[in-house]
Symmetry: C2
Subunit: 210 residues, 2 copies
């Protein structure tokens, strides 16, 4: 029996670039079907193969600006001249249906979300060590040496934010990291504060009254 | 990599009689070897097959009284003329070694423990419904009808205590209940507040400094 939650749970995943957030996220989405991916909105042009409404909601800068003013984003940021934001409605609807949502977001975004949704579950993903992170970044052939150095510096800075999160996972082994993320999802669904206790009591005591 | 905890975690399991606490506990101890069982002290005589220091620490009423006065018990109670208590030292030693401990304890005992160790993780186990609980109790041939009625009334009362706990598990299916308890144990070991963050940062950043 799946316990009746008052509402779904939002899980946010942060961590330095190269820690393996996307790989973990995709593995979790595959293995935990009751969790949904939060689709972001962006003003950047779509790339070949990207599907509107699945990878991103591709919208115009004007529409994005309008969204900011109307408070439509749970968090938003600007990166390399493009805007990225998390549509509040998309998430609110799923949570209201009792579904859980997972997303990756940077540290600033996670803090913005926490201030609006204190019941969010935040997870920080760490690479086993920065040397491995360096290797992973170098492995992305597209990156220049200077860009890598900057990313590493940013990563170092980001690691300090760890203590603002609820959970930490060290991504030494993907299977283990997935198992731990899954455990966090299962455990959070058993939390008394998230559960509709009256409904459970009715259910449990129901057999007595029949 | 097992994250370095500041100290081990104490898990307490409560729930109405017949909910299946012992079965769950034994399955968890078997499947999660890094978790240890907390051995209680009691003044009741040992039964055939029971081993001192494994099932219980069998001690005299005088020794128990002395323990109460010296504050040696994390919680204690009297039941059917015998005393039962949780030796604080046994648990403190294991937690200091970074090991986790699990135990079953009644609602009053759980509250006593929480007041002394606020970082305890409390789990409430529920039968899927009281009708099943009734069947399980009747299944114990040793019980009289009147004793069953009293136990059910007590169980009804206990279910109300649910909201004082951190987690709830409905024991509809033992394998699922074990998986959920295991998830709670794994998740709690990833909690940032329980982790030695400085040690992790040194580890993660270590690769950068070499």
């Amino acid at each position: 029996m799946q316990l009746a939650l008052k509402k779904g749970i939002l899980f946010v995943l942060s961590g330095p670039s190269g820690a393996g957030k996307n790989t973990l996220l995709n593995a979790v989405l595959e293995k935990v079907p009751e969790v949904h991916y939060s689709v972001s909105a962006t003003t950047r042009p779509s790339r070949p193969g990207e599907i509107n409404g699945r990878n991103y909601f591709f919208i115009s800068p004007e529409r994005f600006q309008q969204g900011i003013e109307a408070g439509e984003f749970l968090e938003w940021t600007e990166f390399c001249g493009h805007y990225y934001g998390t549509p509040r409605r998309f998430i609110d609807e799923r949570l209201a249906e009792g579904k859980s949502v997972i997303m990756d977001v940077d540290i600033r975004g996670a803090a913005q979300i926490k201030s609006q949704l204190p019941e969010v579950v935040s997870v920080f993903l760490l690479p086993p060590n920065m040397a491995v992170l360096h290797q992973r970044l170098v492995g992305r052939a597209s990156e220049e040496e200077e860009a890598i150095r900057r990313r590493l510096e940013k990563a170092l800075c980001e690691v300090q934010a760890l203590t603002d999160y609820d959970y930490v996972i060290v991504n030494e082994d993907l299977d283990l990291a997935v198992e731990r993320m899954k455990a966090i999802i299962i455990a959070e669904r058993q939390r008394v504060t998230r559960i509709d206790c009256q409904r459970i009591m009715d259910q449990v005591l129901g057999g007595m009254l029949e």
